[in-house]
Chain length 279, copies 2
């Protein structure tokens, strides 16, 4: 992150982490609560919640209003990682340098933890004190982005349910669903919390920044994916240089989309960050 | 079911099944949609949705208003079965005479199907056209009953996260959470859809009928559970005769709780049914 973005992000991250780790105060038994909080303490970049807060500000809202929405997005994102890491899915033992939930607590607990995080994402929206009409819009957005027309559809394509993914268009569709839908949702929810009635610009931004994020991820993963046997990727289809250019093009498309918004500096900086980050 | 209950239930079950199987019209890819619908086509008793519709009518409401709530409850119930059947949980290959989802479609698909059913349960409430304030109450009820202070807590105790369950009180707590929370929620949501402002009687009914249901399940399972190695059960702790009596006592407690409601015949018949059924 550049200095201006880091300075903007610092107080927001602090407030967000506090809100996020305050979920599950009443989980039973205490060991379940511990296991639910474990994957939330990642030291991650928190890109999605920052997008929610920045989108809220971009339409003139107070970012504090969007905090519960940001927490809900991160809970849903984290559940998807916990289930995605399971032995029957990607079978990953390590995430961000720590044992994954099923390695640390057992596979059955990891299934429950994912289920709990997903359920809680909706509980947070319902319990945030939002006006009911706003809360319902947010629940609708999150359920659509996370559901069988969104993220879960992307996971289904990723595990081969729609057949092998060998060309660019199906790969773009896969990522628009698997990672893009929730990133776009994060942006849209921020706009709704900020009182936006027209989500057109934020929608275009969210779509573009979601693709920029994923395409840049493929660049970062290029070294590990050198073998032909790994999952399909933009680098394998386009080569690393063209993939890098594509990521930048998507990020610039994102910035262009929000040119008309009043207070879009943070959104612009986040778009740049998605294609400049090294992790 | 006795004749009066069966006659009451028939048109409601028909409408309910149609609404339930109409979920996931837009799931991607088509194979995911098929896998999501598979566990919903169970030929099951549909006790929870019938409780929702009956509770709505008991407070003077039209059962059609409660249909989306009944669908949401059944979606959440079904997700819990799909995940509960997984090899890392109960490892069940057969449910109601058919291969379980992971046997039929693979373990990774079963994880996704459960996630999709859970997500969709909230989408259904948000998209039902309820007044936003009612919709938010329903989302809150469902998330609480299904979450880490409800059903998932019950699952956690069931897989031993709270230590071994060897006595009556912990076993009652386990079942109040694992099956009782959602049954009570089904009743409460019906009451809310019917416009009830005081849920006290329905709440007491839901708690009692939930225990009646589970205790009677233990009676039905008594033959299979004859070995000492199986899960803890009321029959093992109390013996089969005392367990049968306890189930009847809970069902009668349920009926007593709703003595003051206007139109409680169906709820009373359902309480009786929970302890007279043979499956």
């Amino acid at each position: 992150m550049n200095d201006a973005l880091a300075a903007w992000a610092a107080p927001r991250i602090t407030a967000f982490e506090e809100a996020l780790l305050g979920t599950f105060p009443d989980a039973l038994p205490a060991t379940l609560r511990e296991a639910c909080i474990y994957p939330l303490q990642t030291g991650g970049k928190r890109v999605r919640p920052l997008l929610t807060l920045a989108a809220c500000e971009s339409v003139g809202g107070d970012w504090r209003v969007a905090l519960p929405a940001a927490v809900a997005v991160e809970l849903l994102h984290t559940y998807s990682l916990v289930h995605d890491d399971l032995p029957c899915m990607d079978d990953d033992d390590v995430r961000r340098g720590r044992p994954t939930v099923h390695v640390r607590y057992g596979e059955n607990v990891a299934v429950l933890v994912g289920d709990a995080l997903l359920t809680e994402s909706f509980a947070v929206l319902a319990g945030a004190g939002y006006a009911p009409s706003l809360a319902m819009k947010l629940v609708t957005e999150l359920a659509r982005a996370g559901g069988a027309q969104g993220m879960i559809a992307g996971q289904a394509f990723d595990i081969g349910m729609g057949g092998p993914v060998r060309e660019l268009d199906p790969l773009v569709r896969l990522h628009r669903l698997k990672t893009g839908a929730l990133i776009r949702c994060a942006v849209r929810m921020g706009g709704l919390c900020g009182g936006a009635t027209d989500l057109g610009a934020l929608d275009a931004y969210g779509d573009a920044v979601g693709l920029a994020f994923q395409v840049h991820d493929d660049v970062l993963d290029a070294d590990q994916d050198a073998d032909e046997g790994g999952p399909p990727s933009f680098v394998k289809l386009l080569g690393v240089d063209a993939t890098r250019l594509a990521a930048i093009a998507h990020a610039e498309r994102a910035s262009t989309a929000i040119a008309g918004l009043a207070n879009a500096d943070a959104l612009r900086a986040l778009a740049r960050f998605t294609v400049e980050r090294s992790i």
